[in-house]
């Protein structure tokens, strides 16, 4: 279970998150939608302490911390329970696929190297990269790099994985295969928060869809309700814009 309560974040005078609360039950997948600049990335970054929130509380499992006044130990603890999949992969360019996947285990979790390698191999097999262990990121396609990114998050066995637009940097023909892998992660019953504009993915996988705009949660509900019967005018407008851009999507 992961819960964010009343998080606020300003950048200077610009109020980016104005009292946002999100709750995700164990094994649930929540998809966050919203126009660019609405604060989705900032929300995820605050959960992982890549950004310091101005106020708010965060609960992951049995650990509750204050997002503003947290100790180093709490931050480390939260980071151990979460994993992040970035829009632009953020792989170490000088490490091979398998070394990238091992890194978090060896450095973050102090798993012995041999054991880390074994688990990394398993994770890479699982995302369909069994023949690419020793490839450097520059030798992989965007889709393959993102699969390494997913394996790297997944191998840590975190309580929650945060995805920030995991497919928006990919060529259109690679989006599908990457989403399929993310679906596989979801089927494993891992709690996930996914920022994405892929409507059909949200429709298939999400237990809950949250629509954010201007730093607040405008509306949330099951995909059926949000997509076919939104209450708020802003949600309707946003959805009609997205749907007109997405030829694959039909309700």
């Amino acid at each position: 279970m992961i819960e964010v309560k009343n998080i606020k974040k300003n950048f200077g005078k610009h109020s980016v998150l104005k009292d946002v609360s999100v709750k995700v039950e164990d094994g649930q997948v929540v998809v966050i939608l919203g126009p660019s600049g609405s604060g989705k990335t900032t929300l995820l970054r605050c959960i992982n302490f890549l950004e310091n929130a101005d106020s708010g509380r965060l609960t992951i499992g049995n650990l509750e911390v204050d997002l503003k006044k947290s100790t180093k130990k709490e931050i480390l603890n939260i980071r151990r329970r979460t994993a992040f999949v970035f829009q632009n992969y953020n792989l170490f360019a000088n490490k091979t696929a398998i070394e990238n996947v091992m890194e978090g285990l060896v450095t973050g979790r102090h798993v012995p190297k041999a054991q880390a390698r074994e688990r990394a191999e398993e994770a890479l097999n699982w995302v369909g990269l069994s023949d690419k262990f020793n490839y450097y990121p520059a030798q992989l396609s965007g889709g393959q790099q993102q699969r390494v990114g997913i394996a790297r998050a997944f191998v840590l066995d975190p309580e929650v994985i945060l995805f920030d637009e995991p497919t928006s940097a990919l060529d259109p023909e690679l989006v599908g295969e990457t989403l399929d892998i993310i679906k596989k992660v979801a089927e494993k019953g891992i709690t996930m928060i996914v920022v994405t504009h892929e409507m059909s993915f949200a429709q298939d996988v999400a237990d809950k869809v949250i629509f954010m705009d201007g730093g607040i949660v405008v509306e949330e509900g099951t995909p059926e309700v949000i997509f076919s019967n939104p209450k708020e005018e802003r949600t309707k407008q946003f959805l009609s814009r997205i749907i007109s851009l997405d030829p694959n999507y039909s309700i």
């Binding site: 890549l50 992040f84 953020n90 170490f92 000088n94 450095t107 450097y136 520059a138």
Partner: protein, 255 residues
């Protein structure tokens, strides 16, 4: 197999067509009977080369020049790297130093040679310092650029994994900046020979620059041409060294 071998012959042979042609022209234009006061014939140069190998001069000049170049490269490279890491990571130092360094850079390095001679005399030091001064800029600027362009996302990744500062340096900063640093090294090698030769011609008692200069005074065309050929070989060798270094150090870049 055969096809591949012909492919190799083509690949490695074609670049040498023009040099071979120039050599041929050179040979033809300096045959006995032609006017060869302006250009010695190839066999005269070869003869001179063997002569200088035998009396040990060639080796002496070569090693003196190479050691000077190496010392200057190490000195200038070390200062350039260190300063770039300081300005690259410390905002205050960046603000204090970077503009000044960028201004210094606009001075044509050769213009510094007179003042360097006044300061350091005409001995060994002035050559090493000239080379150091020249190689400093490409190394500094490219290292600085490399550090500035390190992926912020990777630094965050390092923080998320809880990497120590040392590991952040060895695993993120160094690999991130390395390609750019090596571009600096490659550029500095050209400057290195240029400055060494220039300063050796002005004031010296050994080295290839000295060889060229003294030969000019005695109108020994064969020696002058030999000096030029040596420069070309040294330049090519250091370039090959830079390529080897790049291969060795950043193999992850290869596609």
């Amino acid at each position: 197999m055969v096809v591949k071998r012909t492919g190799n012959i083509v690949k490695f042979g074609i670049p040498w067509i023009i040099p071979a042609f120039v050599l041929l022209l050179w040979y033809l234009s300096t045959r006995p009977g032609m006017n060869n006061t302006l250009m010695p014939s190839p066999d005269k140069v070869i003869q001179k080369t063997f002569e200088m190998i035998k009396n040990g001069q060639l080796w002496e000049y070569l090693s003196v020049s190479t050691v000077r170049a190496g010392k200057g490269l190490l000195l200038g490279g070390f200062i350039g790297l260190t300063l770039a890491f300081l300005t690259g990571f410390n905002r205050i130092l960046d603000l204090t130093l970077d503009t000044s360094i960028q201004m210094l850079r606009t001075i044509p390095v050769l213009a510094a040679i007179s003042i360097m001679i006044i300061w350091f005399g005409i001995g060994e030091r002035v050559k090493v310092y000239m080379v150091a001064f020249g190689v400093f800029f490409p190394i500094y600027i490219n290292t600085y650029h490399g550090i500035k362009s390190i992926d912020k996302g990777l630094m965050e990744m390092g923080a998320v994994y809880g990497l120590s500062r040392f590991r952040i340096f060895t695993d993120i900063i160094l690999p991130g900046a390395l390609p750019s640093i090596l571009v600096g090294v490659r550029l500095s090698l050209g400057t290195m020979w240029l400055l060494l030769i220039a300063s050796e011609q002005i004031a010296t008692d050994a080295g290839i620059g000295y060889m060229a200069m003294s030969a000019r005074e005695l109108l020994q065309m064969d020696k002058i041409v030999l000096a030029i050929i040596l420069y070309a070989i040294l330049g090519k060798l250091s370039d090959a060294w830079a390529t080897w270094l790049e291969r060795k150090l950043i193999r992850w870049r290869e596609r």
